[in-house]
């Protein structure tokens, strides 16, 4: 009797809970999924999108899947628009875990013609460190960042008609989406440092993986900075704008770790792998703050450990410039944290 009672109650609970759960999943999917029009100009899409997730992304794009998994990737929706006597338009909507992840994918290449889409969501004007573009078009390919979405809309052959369709599809994807600002981390990059060094905004890259770092600025085939999904990082070159005849460009790398302990361990690992012949000058077990600079083959390298953050600057013309740059970036971070604390 008791057994029968328990079984009945279990069924009842299941009947009550399952629809509620499904409703939750459905709401989430609706929020994250893009409703694309059935047709655009002369192009028409198939009835349903192909859904790609981490389990089948390599089947879809081979090793290219590593790029999206290097960020917080939820899933990809693929639609193909076809038309008689026209080449296909491929629409790939990458639904990422955060807006920062979607921004990161756009930041890998700031080239192309900036495109502005009208949004029903008001976006307060905020000055940005990176280029202000949220969508870039070139050669038939539109890349855009809209909240947690990064999208690629590509006409396999560019014509005036296909360009119009590609941009209209971009508008549909971006419409009604929130427009969060660029990742907060970018604020660590001053627009200029001293009177000599100016930020190359168009080369700013935001990432969480050494694979992406290597595609922006090669450091090592191995993950010597312990980058993973719990870290966020930005790299950018600064160009020398003086006529002093010193090296033209330095590369700044800033990484924020989940804890100060991880930052310490990462810097220790970096030093062992990259600067093994140089004395460390800090105890990775206890150091909270540390700064050092080293003369290596391509110039002076400076680094600093500052709580959860590691700053490294490469290819500096001398020790003074390496130290000056490291100090400026560390100070920016501290100032930002202090301001947040007020």
């Amino acid at each position: 009797m008791t057994k029968f009672y328990l079984k009945t109650v279990s069924y009842f609970v299941a009947i009550m809970i399952i629809p509620l759960s499904l409703k939750g999943i459905s709401a989430e999917m609706t929020e994250k999924t893009v409703n694309l029009p059935k047709s655009m100009g002369v192009w028409t899409r198939s009835d349903s999108a192909r859904i790609i997730d981490s389990s089948n992304i390599f089947h879809y794009m081979n090793g290219g899947g590593e790029l999206y998994l290097a960020y917080g990737f939820d899933h990809l929706e693929v639609n193909e628009y076809t038309a008689d006597r026209q080449d296909t338009i491929l629409v790939e909507v990458y639904v990422m875990n955060t807006s920062d992840d979607a921004f990161g994918l756009l930041s890998l290449d700031w080239g192309g013609e900036p495109v502005t889409f009208q949004s029903t969501v008001s976006v307060p004007f905020k000055p940005t460190v990176s280029p202000p573009a949220r969508a870039l078009y070139g050669g038939g390919l539109l890349r855009l960042w809209a909240d947690t979405i990064y999208a690629r809309v590509m006409a396999f052959r560019e014509t005036a008609e296909s360009k119009e369709a590609v941009l209209s599809l971009g508008q549909k994807i971006a419409a009604k989406r929130n427009m969060p600002g660029e990742p907060e981390l970018l604020k660590v990059l001053p627009k200029a440092m001293g009177s000599d060094w100016k930020l190359r905004k168009d080369r700013i890259g935001y990432f969480r993986s050494h694979l992406v770092l290597n595609s922006l600025y090669y450091l090592s085939h191995q993950n010597i900075l312990n980058l993973d999904h719990s870290t966020e990082a930005v790299t950018a070159p600064y160009e020398n704008i003086s006529n002093a005849g010193i090296s033209k460009r330095v590369q700044v790398l800033f990484v924020k770790y989940a804890t100060p302990g991880r930052a310490r361990k990462a810097l220790d690992n970096f030093h062992n792998a990259y600067l093994h012949e140089h004395r460390k000058g800090f105890d990775p077990g206890v150091a909270k703050r540390h700064m050092n600079s080293f003369n290596i083959e391509d110039g002076w390298l400076g680094y600093s450990l500052d709580g959860m953050c590691v700053v490294i600057v490469f290819e500096c013309p001398n020790r003074e410039s390496a130290q000056m740059i490291i100090k400026q970036i560390s100070c920016s971070t501290i100032n930002r944290e202090n301001n947040h604390g007020k």
């Binding site: 090793g63 192309g112 450091l219």
Partner: protein, 295 residues
């Protein structure tokens, strides 16, 4: 000072110690082995025709056939097309054609003209010409291979053209990415593949100079060329030069291929597949000269 260095870094490229580091960290074999390397300079031909592809990206097969004919004549040094092909393959060969299917696929028109030439000039029956891209069983069935990749960069290996074209023959393609891409050359030495490649012919009609991972039309351009030779490493080295020059030209500033394509030098120094030194390569160029990118 204790040596704690384990992996390849940027500093190895600046110091010129890539080989030594790779030998210790990844390859675990001696650098500068050189087993199958040819004696004397390796010949690489670059044949271009401005009109092989029109503004709508349509390839003219007749012009492409002429470019192919010119290519095999120059690669073999023969005077007649039939003799040239006969120098590369025999009528009783089972020939595997190995195009690239992904990212920047080999033009089907190129596959068609190569196949037609094998049938017409050598007399190989159609059934003995196999599309051999895929698992290692495919080259295992062949007595000769013609590698036909398209020219392109690759985001995990730097370049994804000649040496990487046989990656599927390994059965474990993901084992050859990142640092382990240095080992791509070993696939050319597995029994199903070793010594079977008679010609490497790179489809450089519409190359992709950025590394992907997906195609971006801004980085594709009409080079309208075929790059060929019998030394796969030399052909790859010339391809690398063209990609690098194009990237610099596009941005007007240095834009190195990143990550650096370590498979090329390793294919030379470790696996002895050919030469990666430009000074050991003789480039023979024919046809359209504008933006040759080999200066």
């Amino acid at each position: 000072m204790e040596n704690k260095q384990k992996g390849l870094t940027r500093r190895d490229f600046i110091r010129g110690t890539v080989g030594a580091t790779l030998a210790v960290s990844v390859l675990r074999v001696l650098w500068a082995k050189g087993s199958e390397k040819a004696v004397g300079p390796s010949l690489v031909t670059v044949v271009r025709d401005k009109n092989v592809m029109d503004a709508g990206l349509k390839v003219n097969s007749n012009i492409l056939q002429s470019m192919l004919d010119r290519t095999v004549l120059q690669v073999t040094g023969k005077r007649k097309i039939r003799e040239a092909w006969a120098d590369l393959v025999k009528p009783d060969d089972i020939v595997g054609l190995v195009p690239t299917p992904h990212l920047n696929p080999t033009h089907e028109e190129l596959v068609d003209v190569v196949k037609a030439s094998l049938m017409k000039e050598v007399g190989i029956p159609e059934k003995n010409i196999i599309m051999a891209q895929g698992g290692k069983r495919k080259p295992g069935r062949c007595t000769a291979l013609i590698s036909m990749p398209a020219l392109k960069g690759h985001w995990l290996t730097g370049i994804g053209t000649v040496i990487k074209n046989y990656i599927m023959y390994s059965g474990r393609p993901s084992n050859y990415h990142q640092e382990k891409s240095a080992k791509l050359g070993e696939i050319w030495l597995i029994p199903e593949v070793k010594s079977k490649t008679r010609l490497v012919i790179v489809d450089a009609i519409h190359p992709l100079c950025d590394k992907g991972p997906q195609s971006d039309p801004r980085y594709k351009w009409a080079y309208n060329g075929l790059i060929a030779g019998t030394d796969p490493v030399a052909v790859e080295t010339v391809c690398l030069k063209i990609l690098t020059e194009k990237r610099h030209a596009l941005r007007g500033e240095p834009w190195p291929i990143s990550p650096p394509p370590i498979c090329v030098e390793a294919a030379d120094k470790v696996y002895g597949l050919g030469t990666s030194k430009m000074e050991e390569i003789k480039i023979a160029h024919f046809g359209w000269e504008e933006d040759l990118l080999l200066g």
